[in-house]
Symmetry: C2
């Protein structure tokens, strides 16, 4: 069975109440990855809202999540024909760790104009993309290959921008789908590592993901950029493209950059 599907599985245990398990397999050090938590939430919200696709999902990460059981408390905001909205409390040991708020819909039924400013970035030499060392649990779940021009920080060259261009996929062969996009939106190293070096702790305060299309099988391409780091507060903007060239999601998070503390 897919590691991702296994570790995001949920069980309905009451009215508007689900139970999940936060696995250690998606940890960054001792902390579960926030995108993984959002994926558990998205799976719950799909069931609760009766629409398949998270058009927009926002997570506010208010306290450190734990490995182990989680109670997922659902609150309906509005049920509609084309879109529905709800909130989900992510509660462990009686403490709310994160709040997710989302509008779900059905991308197969969405109709209207299409127009794009930019196509998927063309990779001049995808074979030259760099592998990272595997020192975190999460690295065993996802293979990430970095554009060497933007990943000069891996060779202690900090002359680049806070930007990544990453080819990535689940190592166990699980194909991407809309519910795994929250994970792919948050599993990459902080962009500021490219500018200030791979040290420091960059906790996410809030992450919002817009899913725009269902990903085709195959690897994803993620581009992540920080333009404004102001007094230790930064945004991290991402676009995620699928193997067929479709934009499948855009995301933005607000994070704090703490240069002085250890990454782990």
């Amino acid at each position: 069975m897919s590691e991702f599907w296994q570790d995001t599985s949920i069980e309905k245990i009451g009215d508007n109440l689900w139970r999940g398990q936060v696995s250690e397999r998606w940890n960054v050090g001792t902390v579960p990855n926030g995108g993984y938590l959002m994926a558990i939430a998205a799976r719950t919200l799909r069931e609760a809202l009766h629409h398949d696709d998270p058009l927009t999902i926002t997570g506010h990460f208010v306290d450190r999540a734990l490995n182990g059981p989680v109670d997922l408390q659902f609150e309906q905001i509005r049920l509609g024909k084309s879109v529905s909205t709800g909130a989900l409390r992510f509660v462990q040991d009686g403490v709310e760790r994160a709040r997710f708020t989302a509008t779900f819909g059905d991308l197969d039924k969405t109709e209207g104009e299409s127009w794009m400013l930019e196509p998927k970035p063309v990779l001049e030499n995808p074979q030259a993309f760099l592998k990272t060392p595997r020192f975190l649990a999460i690295h065993d779940r996802v293979e990430m290959l970095f554009d060497p021009d933007k990943a000069r920080w891996m060779k202690a060259d900090l002359s680049g921008k806070p930007e990544h261009l990453i080819r990535y996929r689940f190592r166990d062969g699980t194909e991407p789908d809309v519910l795994s996009l929250p994970f792919f939106a948050d599993c990459v190293p902080p962009t500021v590592f490219a500018k200030f070096g791979p040290m420091g702790w960059v906790p996410t305060l809030e992450l919002t993901l817009h899913v725009r299309a269902k990903p085709a099988p195959g690897e994803l391409l993620g581009r992540f950029l920080t333009r404004y780091l102001i007094n230790g507060l930064m945004e991290e903007d991402g676009e995620i493209w699928d193997s067929e060239g479709k934009l499948v999601a855009i995301c933005r998070q607000l994070a704090r950059y703490r240069a002085s503390t250890s990454f782990l």
Copy 2:
């Protein structure tokens, strides 16, 4: 008294409950502007969360808001020393019209690294910026001046990108502050008007604003861009700069573009 401060005033009427009034003065046709609703919410959340500045605030707009009274129901998610998080239900006639979720903090006390990829856009000829016709109530509240190169749509030339560059300020002389930034994030015409003409209805599903600095007195400069319109779903990204050159906020919304229906 300032129109903005008057029309966003709130009164505490119970435990975790405030009452506001949605004025007609900020209408787009018959509908109150979503950024104005978010400003009412932000003012309530400031009082409830005991921090001054909305570091990140997300609104999910689930039903059409009305002119008239609104009940603002607050739910605390986490109170902290440096940041606090809460949710706010925007309820009219017993129906929740919008849900706001926000983390507030204190920008005066925020410390850490600063680095910017891009400075405030330089305006080559600010005197040449175009005035719009005033045909909506909201136009009487805010003066918006458009970069003519990006506003070719105003002269029926649709060769441009879905992008605006706008100098704007309250007409009554009210100076911008952090609580008015939600309004400035959403008061501009839809970006797609520049690409497809100033017709159609572009309702916001979700809007997220990150406030990054307190604006100095004087006019603001807003840059708004849509890169991905896919099957009628689009993002609208904005950056807002103050008169001293500071980036004061970034924002992103998910909206539906309905070309066939009238703007009003």
